[in-house]
Amino acid sequence: MAVVESPLAGKILEINITVGQTVNEDDEVIILEAMKMENPIFAPADGTVKEIKVKAGDRVNEGDVLVVIE
């Protein structure tokens, strides 16, 4: 199991995956708005999306788990 963590505090702008979807390592899964920039967050490993813990517009802190990949 792998988790996608927020690398810094910010706001979730886009979620580009759905639960059950297959992803590959380095696929863009979430866009996080922070420090006026849109930062793509990538899948850390191949797998299937088991859980998405955030929705667009949510504010998150550094280290928060955003997605769980199985």
Binding site: L8, D26, M35, M37, E38, E62
Partner: protein, 581 residues
């Protein structure tokens, strides 16, 4: 394998690889970039179609400047510059000269031609500055300057904009003399009628090759006829002028036979336009140049990944971050590099790479998150790529100093939102370290080019290899995603109007008029930072399609290594050893 072996081949022959295959094409991004490229192509077409039609010029037995360049320059080597440069908004939409880098008979030269479709190649506003940009390039690259002259002199209806001034129309003649003083030859092919300023243009180069119908003279017909003015024009003056002009039309001063047979200024006289260009090719063949393989550190190879990927990799959305190393992987030979201090100053990439088998230094702004412990001088906020912090500034100063010592030319890839600000940043010495970088660049005496990949903002635009470094920057390229301004329009509007907003609010007045002014300012900043505007005003020397960036890098690096003024033996270089540790 080239004709020579390779020095220090364990370092350079095979460097570590960068980049990976593009996961997927981002169609919307590609479309947006290509739309700007089409707008740019339209702007270029307006310039190439300006003035007299090519068939009208050809029907007189003359070639256009574009045709002359096409005949002269080796296939697939022409890198045009300043194509839509027009800082004074001329009605012609151009400064009346065409220039760029190209190979002639296998050797790089800076090439400039009078555009004979625009007022017979007249000096028009902005032209002097365009020419000085070109002479600066020849000086910095230490390669020949080749002129294709066809200049009818000053556009007399705008003489006050053209003739005088410190960087006016006489300045290029001094620049030609300066190039000669530095051992850089200026070759000229002379066509048509070149009176006054055109005449000095013709006489100031090193070697004069003329078409048989060409002339150069101190003054033309109009000047000779107007020597005794009454202070006004009357019927008698007009009649005298007609008579004098008719005489001079049949025998203009400074004809080819005078400057070949009598003065000997012309070294060659050619019967056809093509033969003038053939002679220039012959002279270029004998210009000083190292064999292209002499300075190569490896065989030239194309990048592993195609340039077409750049259309997906560089986000058109300026707020979207990306991976700078993926850009480098599409520009440099075999997608290889050696990175300098990757764990220090993470907002900046510094490293060595190869272009066409030649070694070059590369500096670029990394993008995106830099880690929660950076910048190291504060725990109040996190750093982000595009901004500059203490370590990045120090790292760049170190790297350019090493490259200067090792005589390695530098390519800058700029995408910056500026230097970190505030008292914390001041305590971290960022103002002083920014200036230290400028000092370090100046001390290198190295040729450099700048590619403004996306943002060129604030003082960071100057110190990241900016065009303001006149002794180093050879030329600056923009791309379809370039935007250059002192700060973002919204930031500027806030800085300019925030106190006014407070005042209006306290007075109980409506805010809408101020808000409207702020939005006007935001729009104005946007409009005046677009790629085409940047090229017309000269913020950049050309806007280049992503697919063509590598060609310009090849022309730059090939020119630098053609006939350098100083060299560092490869086995005595320190930069690669410092990287290896």
């Amino acid at each position: 394998m080239g004709e020579y072996g390779f020095s220090l081949h364990p370092y350079f022959k095979e460097m570590p690889g960068i980049g990976k295959d593009l996961p997927r094409e981002l169609k919307q991004n590609v479309d947006e970039i290509k739309k700007v490229e089409r707008e740019l192509a339209d702007a270029v077409r307006r310039v190439t179609d300006a003035g007299k039609a090519a068939q009208d010029i050809n029907s007189k037995g003359e070639m256009t400047a574009w045709q002359r360049i096409d005949y002269l320059v080796d296939p697939d080597t022409w890198c045009p510059l300043h194509t839509i440069y027009d800082p004074d908004n001329n009605e012609e939409g151009t400064t009346g000269v065409i220039d760029g880098l190209g190979k002639i008979a296998g050797k790089w030269a800076v090439i400039i031609a009078s555009n004979n479709q625009i007022m017979a190649g007249a000096w028009i506003p902005g032209q002097a500055d365009n020419i000085l940009r070109v002479t600066d390039m020849a000086k910095r690259l230490h390669i020949p300057l080749v002129w294709l002259l066809n200049c009818s002199g000053v556009k007399l209806t705008e003489q006050e904009e053209v003739y005088a001034n410190r960087r006016g129309n006489g300045t290029p003649f001094y620049r030609h003399a300066e190039l000669e003083k530095l051992g850089i030859p200026v070759l000229v092919g002379i066509y048509g009628t070149n009176p006054a300023g055109g005449g000095y243009h013709g006489i100031s180069p090193t070697t004069l090759i003329a078409h048989q119908d060409a002339n150069i003279a101190v003054g033309g017909g109009g000047i000779v006829s107007g020597m005794s003015p009454k202070g006004f024009i009357d019927q008698e003056t007009a009649e005298n002028l007609i008579e004098a002009t008719q005489k001079l039309t049949s025998a203009p001063p400074g004809r080819a036979e005078i400057h070949y047979m009598n003065t000997g200024f012309f070294r060659e006289i050619c019967e056809t336009e093509e033969k003038v260009l053939d002679k220039i090719k012959q002279y270029m063949k004998d210009m000083p140049a190292y064999h292209p393989d002499f300075f190569r550190v490896a065989d030239p190879t194309e990048p592993k990944y195609p340039a077409s990927d750049l259309y997906s990799l560089v986000p058109f959305n300026q707020r979207r971050v990306y991976n700078m190393k993926e850009i480098l992987a599409r520009l440099f030979d075999n997608s290889e590099h050696m990175e300098y201090r990757p764990d220090y100053g993470p907002e900046v990439y510094c490293g060595l790479a190869k272009i066409d088998g030649y070694l070059c230094g590369v500096i670029g702004n990394n993008q995106g998150v830099l880690g929660s412990n950076y910048p190291e001088y504060t725990d109040q906020y996190q750093g982000i790529g595009g901004k500059l912090y203490r370590q990045g500034l120090i790292k760049m100063s170190e790297f350019v100093t090493f490259c200067g010592r090792d005589r390695i030319p530098i390519i800058w890839l700029q995408d910056t939102t500026g230097i970190d600000v505030g008292d914390t940043a001041e305590k971290a010495e960022l103002l002083g370290l920014g200036m230290s970088l400028i000092y370090s660049i100046e001390q290198t005496d190295l040729p450099m080019i700048l590619i403004v990949l996306r943002k060129g903002t604030a003082a960071a635009h100057y110190l990241l290899g900016g065009p303001n470094g006149n002794n180093n920057n050879v030329f600056t390229l923009g791309t379809p995603t370039t935007e250059i301004y002192v700060m973002h329009g919204e930031t500027a509007a806030a800085a300019a109007f925030s106190r006014r907003l407070v005042k209006e609010k306290q007075a109980g007045k409506p805010l809408d008029p101020v808000i409207d002014k702020m939005n006007e300012m935001v729009k104005d900043y946007y409009d005046k930072s677009r790629p085409i505007y940047c090229a017309q005003k000269g913020f950049v020397d050309e806007i280049v399609r992503y697919a063509d960036l590598r060609s310009y890098c090849k022309a730059f690096v090939g020119s630098v290594y053609q006939n350098p003024t100083s060299i560092c033996p490869f086995h005595q270089m320190i930069t690669p050893r410092t990287i290896k540790g």
